[in-house]
Symmetry: C2
Subunit: 199 residues, 2 copies
């Protein structure tokens, strides 16, 4: 052994390996990820990684799940307005973390049908299920009209948040995000009522 | 001379070199672009390219301007609703072209402060000036309230279009885009009236 590694375990080990994985993915892409390189960067034994994350694919997925803070706790403040505001706050907090910025760039910089895209499909579905639930509950409570196109509303809010927080060169603070969300919500409650799927 | 190249001139030459430039940028990135590689791919003499586009930077910029169809003709149908609908149509047509998809991926996959980002700043400013003009005219005509936050409205529409057309895995046809734009417009005309910049 060239040098004795400090023993790290449990949460500390996981955090170290996850951080090294994201950094390696930023360097070589999802396709090029190697467990040996991650081990070297995290300064842990290869076998320690193989035991928990047997393939680069498993490792990459786990690192992305961690960074995006997939949570099973629903956003449920009791009102649509409150839920959308909380969604905006949470989105901003997570999307501006350095690891998440790396992942977002990899996802949106990658061709639509590549390895990276496949890796994030699952993750996005989990995320979106949670934000879609907000809108479904609003329909149940009667805050949105029955039969409202909640899919469209969801995609418009998500697109606005992504652009304002991640892609625009302008800085958007939380107040600006809340105003964007309110603008869209006013639209959802406005004359067209999100009802018609026809022209 | 190894082989005699067919003489291509004028528009045909420009189109060939622009296409080769985008293809090379997709392969090696904006940083790695070389005039020799572009010449080889386009099957024209290096000197032909150097004469018109003396540096890789000039070449890259020109290719991106071409692909994004920067137009100086304003979108001006006479009504805000009509203009937003035309913006959505035009956005979809241009953003779904293969060259533009490459550019968009490079732009959004690149770090915020790199060469690629610098290359597209200008281009985006030109594009956005044109779409912002739509909203300013609407304020002048009284279709949007005086003092409306047209910047926010602009960014929300743009974010929604980007997500629906480029980043979502779902297909959005023109009707869906128009419904998204109408939803946002209803919001802009709704109770908050885009007026308050305070919480």
């Amino acid at each position: 052994m060239a040098h004795a590694r400090k023993q790290v375990r449990g949460k500390q080990l996981v955090a170290k390996v996850m951080a090294a994985t994201i950094a390696e993915m930023a360097r070589v892409g999802a396709e090029g990820l190697s467990i040996e390189d991650v081990a070297a960067r995290a300064d842990v034994n290869k076998t320690t990684i193989y035991r928990r994350w047997p393939t680069p694919h498993v490792l990459a997925r786990q690192a992305m799940l961690c960074a995006s803070e997939i949570s099973s706790a629903p956003i449920d403040t009791g009102s649509l307005r409150g839920d959308l505001s909380e969604w905006a706050h949470e989105f901003r907090r997570i999307a501006t973390s350095p690891d998440m910025q790396t992942i977002i760039r990899m996802r949106f910089g990658a061709p639509a049908r590549g390895r990276m895209s496949a890796l994030t499909t699952d993750l996005e579905e989990k995320k979106h299920a949670r934000s879609r639930a907000i809108l479904r509950r609003a329909v149940k409570r009667g805050e949105l009209p029955r039969g409202a196109d909640t899919e469209l509303l969801h995609d418009v809010v998500l697109g606005a948040l992504l652009y304002l927080v991640v892609f625009s060169r302008k800085h958007s603070d939380v107040k600006r995000l809340e105003r964007a969300v309110r603008l869209i919500l006013d639209g959802a409650l406005g004359p067209s009522k999100l009802r018609s799927r026809k022209s």
